[in-house]
């Protein structure tokens, strides 16, 4: 039995070590920097220099909990609200905003930085959720495909029903994809909750292709990458990034955005102080920092989103290739929260069955 006993002890030892916490990094020489935990989704990015400038100025060590998409990250914050393990949550957008507010995960914070921010972005009058950035979900098209065929690209949503655009559109499933949901909301906001299904019936008649995720739609179905569909639901920022994130960043863009007549949906992302934080002062400082021009000017090239702070300047290349949508469609967060399931179910019945 001796061998088995040793085995037993060894295994216990392994588990015991496994249960300990990760050792703190020994590089921090400053007298005990405080720790601020920021919970977010896995698209969160920032420049190292920007983050460390905040850390140095406030003698703080930022730790990001960034795993799962926006929905999964928010669920984590909600389920841990009685014993929160972060101080700040960033990344809830207007399609999820009501879920976050109704669950009461945020404490209000009237940041002084809010005074510069246009009121259209402030969707929570109590300032529990503060706007940080925005981006549009728009139809993108392959410029060359249309110019090769001497075909005028569609100008708005209604155009998509025309016979010359048959077989050309690929969209994402609103049940599984955030841009997919945004596009469904565009049609609801544009045509109204009683008419949008008629539009979708028209799209089905025009052979719209539905896939589950943006990656598949954009990477394998979009003609830009060799697929068969020259119109795709993507982001308003995609064309400039096609130029920036390519081998030869000074070429002309290959893709463009359809921006007319409310054919885009604006996603706004929010940040908030998590209820129950023990670092309220630092959390406030971090939020002020996120709204400052330093962070706001860093965001576009890191996360492909736009600053809400009007004083923040956009990168030149970015501005050059960017087309801003005319009056993007708006659906209130409460409407979205109340109808999400019904809208998606009705859409599924109409489009997939």
């Amino acid at each position: 039995m001796k061998k088995e006993l040793i085995y037993f002890i060894l295994t216990v030892a392994i588990i015991m070590t496994a249960c300990g916490q990760a050792p703190a990094s020994p590089t921090n020489l400053n007298p005990s920097p405080r720790k601020l935990m920021v919970m977010t989704h896995d698209s969160f990015l920032a420049s190292e220099s920007v983050i460390s400038s905040f850390e140095k100025a406030n003698n703080v060590k930022l730790q990001f909990i960034a795993s799962g998409d926006a929905g999964a990250a928010l669920n984590k914050a909600i389920l841990s609200k009685d014993n929160p393990f972060a101080d700040v949550f960033y990344g809830v957008d207007n399609t999820f905003l009501s879920r976050a507010l109704n669950e009461g995960i945020f404490d209000p914070y009237n940041s002084p930085a809010l005074k510069d921010i246009p009121s259209q972005f402030k969707m929570d009058p109590q300032n529990r959720a503060l706007p940080v950035d925005w981006g549009d979900v728009c139809l993108n098209y392959d410029i060359k495909y249309f110019s090769d065929r001497n075909l005028q690209p569609p100008q708005n949503l209604e155009d998509l029903l025309k016979p010359e655009y048959k077989d050309l559109l690929v969209v994402e499933n609103p049940a599984t994809s955030s841009p997919g949901l945004a596009f469904l909301l565009t049609t609801i906001g544009h045509f109204g909750a009683d008419k949008y299904l008629d539009f979708w019936r028209g799209l089905v008649a025009n052979n719209v292709l539905v896939v589950n995720d943006w990656e598949t739609a954009y990477r394998s179905n979009f003609t830009r990458w060799g697929g068969d569909h020259p119109i795709v639901v993507s982001y308003g920022s995609s064309p400039p990034f096609e130029v920036i994130e390519s081998d030869s960043p000074d070429t002309t863009p290959q893709t463009a955005v359809i921006t007319k007549d409310g054919s885009c949906f604006r996603q706004v992302e929010f940040v908030g102080v998590l209820k129950g934080t023990k670092n309220r002062d630092l959390a406030e400082k971090w939020i002020d920092f996120m709204l400052s021009t330093t962070f706001q000017e860093d965001m576009p090239l890191q996360m492909y989103v736009f600053p809400v702070n009007p004083n923040a300047k956009l990168d030149e290349t970015f501005q050059k290739y960017l087309t801003m949508p005319e009056n993007p469609t708006y659906v209130s967060p409460d409407d979205i929260a109340n109808n999400r399931e019904a809208w998606i179910n009705a859409w599924t019945e109409t489009v997939l069955r």
Binding site: K2, K3, E4, Y7, T11, I14, I15, A18, C19, S43, F44, L45, A46, S47, E48, Q63, I65, A66, S67, G68, G71, A72, N75, L79, S80, N83, F85, K144, Y145, D167, A175, T176, V210, V211, N212, D213, E215, T216, R219, S220, T223, R224, G226, G227, D228, H229, Y235, F241, E242, E245, S246, D247, T252, Q254, L301, Y304, R340, E341, I344, L352
Partner: protein, 571 residues
Amino acid sequence: MILKNHKWVTYALLWILPLIFLLLFYFYPMSSILKISLERSQRGWLNAFTEAFLSPTTWQVLTFTFWQAILSTLLTLLIGLPGAYLFAHYDFRGKSLLQALLSIPFLMPTLVVAAAFNSLVGPSGWLNIAIRQIFHLNSSPLQFNNTLVAILVAHVFYNTAIVLRMVGDYWSHLDPHLGQAAQMLGANRWQAIRRIILPLLSPAVAAAALLVFIFDFTSFGVILILGGPRFATLEVEIYYQTVSLFNLPMAAVLCLIQLGCTLALTLIYSRLTKRMSIPLSLKSHRITQHRLTTIRSKIMAGSLIAILLTLLILPLAALAIRSVTRLVPDRGQMNDTSSGFTLDYYRQLGTSHRESIFYTSTTTAIGISLGYALATTVLALALGFPAALALSRQAESPINQGMDALLMLPLGTSAVTLGLGFIVALDKPPLNLRSSWLLIPLAHTLVAFPFVVRNLSPALRSIQPRIRHAAAVLGASPVSVIRYMDLPLVGRAALIAGAFAFTISMGEFGATVLIARPEYPTIPVAIYRLLSRPGELNYGQALALSTILMLVSCIAMLLVDKFRVGGIGEF
């Protein structure tokens, strides 16, 4: 009586660690999240059940989940069993390389698998490009994505390696004389196979089929990415209910249904295999394996290898070729211009574009993945060995059967539910692991555990009790029996079990993406980050990194084979 008590104590001791591990890191998180979820039902938890069972969607999803899994498993056996026969009975040049290559698909995260099939048969895949160019077509003739065929092919692609490894390995040690003796006694070839070989093989076949079935049954990424929006398994529906709708009561009920099915399957399986675990005298490869000498055997081997390569390796090769091809040649579409060779995507991997936080170089991501994989292997073997030992002694005892079934439960568990379970349960000291990197090896071990046990226990079980008794009679203590007889015999099984644990950890994505620390991404997480951004460079780098993951996995598999030759475990 004394002896009996002593035995009971041994079992209890053997089970205690695996049980503690499962209780702490599986049952406790799962029961916490399920309880919280059901309590959120506004009209009581019972209502959550009636609502779920009255919904036609539940039944549609359940039916589809079952029959696609049955179909996939049968197809996988159809391809895998002849392959297992080939590897078990013949020795030929390049065999270990081929075996290592064929193991890669099982280790790939679904993202990579989807990218691989897209590179081959997607709208912009090589096959479609070729057909378009030859026949001057404007659109892609092959429609693979969003079809049931895509789901089935991807499942076969994924799981054939399980059959090849588990059945092939067992088969290669079966005494060929048994079949020969039967034939000498007048049985024809088929009778010998049906009456002698198949019954002897059935424990391994059943074990492999069960694992394949559970993987197909809980399939998520394949259904979502390749199957498209018209198909949903329970796992997909659980994700939708949890993340998109935040209908936690419904998600919890669906999760319980999935767990119930997994448990029932495992129990039926243990029933079926109870009688099958006959101790056999396993033989060395020297006796069981031949060279390919006859023309017939050469043709058979050649065509089998061709089929396996086409199904399992061609998609991976398509992806690898894609990773060294400029994706958008000369501004325009693939069908106008030929594409050129480039190593740019590999070069780009080494550079941080915008000094982002969380940027990790490829070598660091590989290092992080290897570290997690190593921790998983150690943990899974340490826990799996006592469990397998207990199981091998008295498989039919109710304790063992129950424990065996419990071990399988993590495989039937939705990753998103378990991920949330960790958050709500492991939130207080001493187990405050919510933001700890340790969650990753723990979660990986849960997945790898059943593989380790399944690989170890048949080997332990097949040790002849008579020889152990003889050793005991000759004065060997129980410890020496284990050390000098069981361990050498089990060494090879332990290596394969360890390799499974290692590579499962390398490729795991579903749970990892929910709990990974952003500054410590594994290779699959790094691939996912690149895939989800626009721009040619990001996509190219994602493919390059996928190719590197394939190479690393292949090398790991080859090393396992090499170690085996070193002598341990050759019986």
